[in-house]
Amino acid sequence: MQRIGVFVCWCGSNIAATVDVKQVAEALGKEPGVVFSTDYQYMCSQSGQEMIQEAIREHRLTGVVICSCSPRMHEATFRKTCQKAGLNPYMVEIANIREQCSWIHKDKITATEKAVILGRAAIAKVHLNAPLTAGTSPVVKRALVIGGGIAGIQTALDIADAGFPVDIVEKKPTIGGKMTQIDKTFPTLDCAACILTPKMVDAAQNENIDIISYAQVEKVQGFVGNFSVTIRKKARYVDETKCTGCGLCTEKCPQKKIPNEFNLGLDNRRAIYIPFAQATPKVATIDPNYCTMLKTGKCGVCSKVCTAGAINYKQEDEIITREYGAIVVATGFEPISMEPFDEFAYSQSPDVVTSLELERLMNAAGPTGGTLLRPSDGAHPHTLVFVQCVGSRCDGAQKGKSYCSKICCMYTAKHAMLIREKYPDTEVYVFYIDVRTPGKNFDEFYRRAVEEYGVHYIKGMVGKVTPQDGKLKVQASDLLGGRQMHIDADMVVLAAAIEPDKSARPLATMLTASMDTNDFFTEAHPKLRPVESPTAGIFLSGACQGPKDIPETVAQAGAAASKVIGLLSKNSLTCNPCTAKPDELMCNGCSSCEKVCPYGAITYVDKPFRGPNRTTLTRRVAQVNPAVCQGCGACTVACPSGAMDLQGFSNKQILAEVDAICR
């Protein structure tokens, strides 16, 4: 039998005005197990808390019920109070007689009656409370960053600077991501490579950072502080430790007609290649889909020219398994396919390009050496039409995306401005629905495009583009001018919507991290915990969480890093003790609980049990990892035998509350 103390708070007049607190204290004092019952003006005050502590000592209380405001308000306070007096903090229950009683009822008799019932329910529960101790689990002091774009690089650098080792897993042969393909950045117009490549070098040279390029995460096990991750490092058929990145092989390789991904297929590369000059790691990679040697066993040119002897046609995929305390997802984005939007003739004319393709066409390291030329004939374009919101802000999900891709307005302003600056003989039209420029110096930037560079911003949309006689006939509306426009353009640039990288969905499944319907990772709280996934130990960096521009990505990357550093700086983690707990003697091992657990906290082991007549039976039973379990209780109801119960909210406790209320 518990020795329970009841403390009824007046909360000034907040409770006492409508609830007869004396009567409540007296009525509850008569409940079985209650050895002390009192009331006080402010239980949460210093003296109120001292009163509780004194009562605990004096009456040797084993359980405490506080009739006061919502537990959401002061449960933590009173738990601490009691803990200081030597009582287990989980032996405290709160009866909410303010928000859910005194404040909603006017009649004192009714409110008092209800307060007594709520108090009884809390007493009934405390009778069945058991002291709970928060467990701890150690933290592996190493972080994994999945994705080596600007988000991943920044996060890794920040974590590494704090002194923790961090690995970057990048699926491409080089880190750098989308930013490497961008020419200039808004709103400052500085060169993307000039600000990114030093960071790439920093990452490569940082002692705490290990870049695992051309690799993918295969399997994730474990939980916050203790992840075990299996990474497949694909064979690049070049020994990374020997290759000097001289590039001789990439010049000699006879396979020349392979579309160059880095330039989005606007030019070609060889079967052995280094994606671009500043690639990190700067080592060659053989594309097994095109390499004659790997396909037929005949050729071997690269091997012959390589003075470092780095070529190894027999190289195999390498499986790396490492332990991590935290995982950062930085899988980024990609532009959506333009296939459903053929009114813009993307598939019909090479002169209709996406904005990212335009970046390459304007980049000094791009296929045209930085001179803007029409892909079809290499001529200098005079009239350019930009179309905004291609695939963004669409109704339903049949064709495009329902969301705004956020970055298009700004990069289009940038493109328009750069073109007008470099080629003053051009006419540039931007068709927009809305121009969205929230951001520091963003609207100023857009206004400059209009006012200083004379870009024609037209409120309206392009209806269709028809390639005809070497021109692109653009039919569009000018809503403010009240006219339909017909423009003979040389190039049309589509601001394609962006979507999460395709690898994100399977990764989310491995991480048991949740995603929204658009495959963007869900944050733990949209406002207050924007860089954490609801799954503990998983953090979000960059566009995998939602469309972002570079400054925002870098900011979020830093925020994610700081969260990781906060986690890794702890030696161990305190777990929420209100977790699910299976009774192994009753567990059937049926896996029902596992199927509903959103955190993957449940695993199964075959365990020997003593059977009747000195026999031993081996049974499959569930085990809950208390470090992973968040205590939702979904498993407790899925379990048909009732073997799974939730500590702190056990079946018996809830039933006791029900009984007390319905009495």
């Binding site: 008569k30 079985p32 009747p612 007549n613 009984d659 007390a660 319905c662 009495r663």
Partner: protein
């Protein structure tokens, strides 16, 4: 012997039910069951009720006492209600014999007052059998289905119901009924009882050998293997008399009641250390050892089975006392 015309059976029921509750075997929701008679209620066509007649003396659930808790005071309440007189009509010879078996358990000192109370207030009118089921084997246990006993024995023959009082209670009951013609019952055809397939099951062997001989028989292992551990045999059995005592907390009171229990259940006679019959083999053995060996050992050789055949029809896997008795005798399965 008194005679009542069968076509006026409802009048007999009305007369019997005049002063007390009359239970007759009637069909309720498709099942034959001893039911308080109401005008117009017909007897079932079934040979016997689904559940046995023991329910009327030893109901499945029965309140024993209550504890009222006020503050920290506990008050004991004896809620035993006074049982009024009642009559059971249509009890077959097997069930009638089961009463004497139960009596030896419940009425021995110290008597079970709850049971005794009901027994004292009941008058049992039995009904002789003429169309037995193939599962009937009361004759193998020395029961004469045509001489069913009880306070009043009844026979159906032709157009008539013949009634004969066997006890004072029975006589008193018949006296209160409207005057009846006297007469002798014509001798009916009893040859069907000689054709009963189970008439020769030998129950005498169980007194011939020592208790441990049967207890240690190798056949239990095999026989119990398919047993599901349900309680259907126990609960339809007219002689099973085990119960459990339980408390129910209503919130304002604790009600103590007893309810049937089955030795086939894994939690039967559960003790602090666990169960003393850990596998279904021991539980299964307990039930049959009790009927065939323990009970006769304690009660002058009387077998604790009345051959009603209910378990033969109700066991989900068709295991039953006849199969057990035969297997035990043969010593193997």
């Amino acid at each position: 012997m008194k005679i009542w015309k069968l076509d006026r059976l409802q009048d007999l029921f009305a007369a019997l039910a005049g002063e007390r509750t009359l239970y007759i075997p009637a069909d309720v929701a498709g099942q034959a069951k001893f039911t308080p008679w109401e005008p117009g209620m017909e007897m079932t066509k079934a040979l016997n009720t689904n559940r046995s007649a023991k329910d009327l003396f030893f109901p499945q659930v029965e309140d024993l006492a209550a504890f009222k808790i006020t503050g920290r005071q506990i008050q004991v309440e004896d809620n035993r209600e006074d049982v009024e007189d009642f009559v059971i009509f249509g009890v077959r010879a097997c069930d009638a014999r089961s009463f004497s078996i139960l009596d030896k358990v419940f009425l021995e000192e110290p008597a079970d007052t709850y049971y005794k109370n009901r027994r004292d207030h009941a008058t049992v009118m039995t009904l002789a059998c003429s169309r037995p089921e193939a599962t009937c084997f009361c004759t193998a246990l020395g029961i004469d289905p045509q001489a069913p006993g009880g306070d009043v024995s009844c026979w159906v023959e032709g157009e008539n119901l013949y009634l004969q009082a066997n006890t004072q209670k029975g006589e008193a009951l018949l006296e209160k009924l409207p005057a009846m013609e006297e007469g002798e019952k014509p001798q009916g055809d009893a040859s069907v009882f000689d054709r009963l397939p189970l008439k020769d099951v030998d129950f005498s062997v169980f007194s011939e050998k020592a208790l441990l001989h049967w207890f240690n028989s190798p056949v239990w292992e095999e026989l119990s293997r398919s047993c599901l551990g349900c309680g259907s045999c126990t609960f339809v059995c007219p002689t099973c008399q085990c119960y459990d005592v339980k408390d129910f907390d209503t919130g304002t009171k604790v009600k103590r009641f007893r309810c049937w229990d089955s030795c086939m259940y894994s939690d039967f006679t559960m003790m602090a250390h666990g169960t003393n019959r850990p596998t279904q083999k021991e539980r299964f053995r307990q039930r049959f050892m009790h009927k065939l060996v323990y009970y006769p050992n304690n009660h002058d050789g009387e077998i604790g089975c009345v051959g009603c055949g209910r378990c033969l029809r109700k066991c989900p896997i068709s295991m039953n006392i006849v199969k057990v008795a035969k297997a035990l005798k043969e010593g193997s399965v």
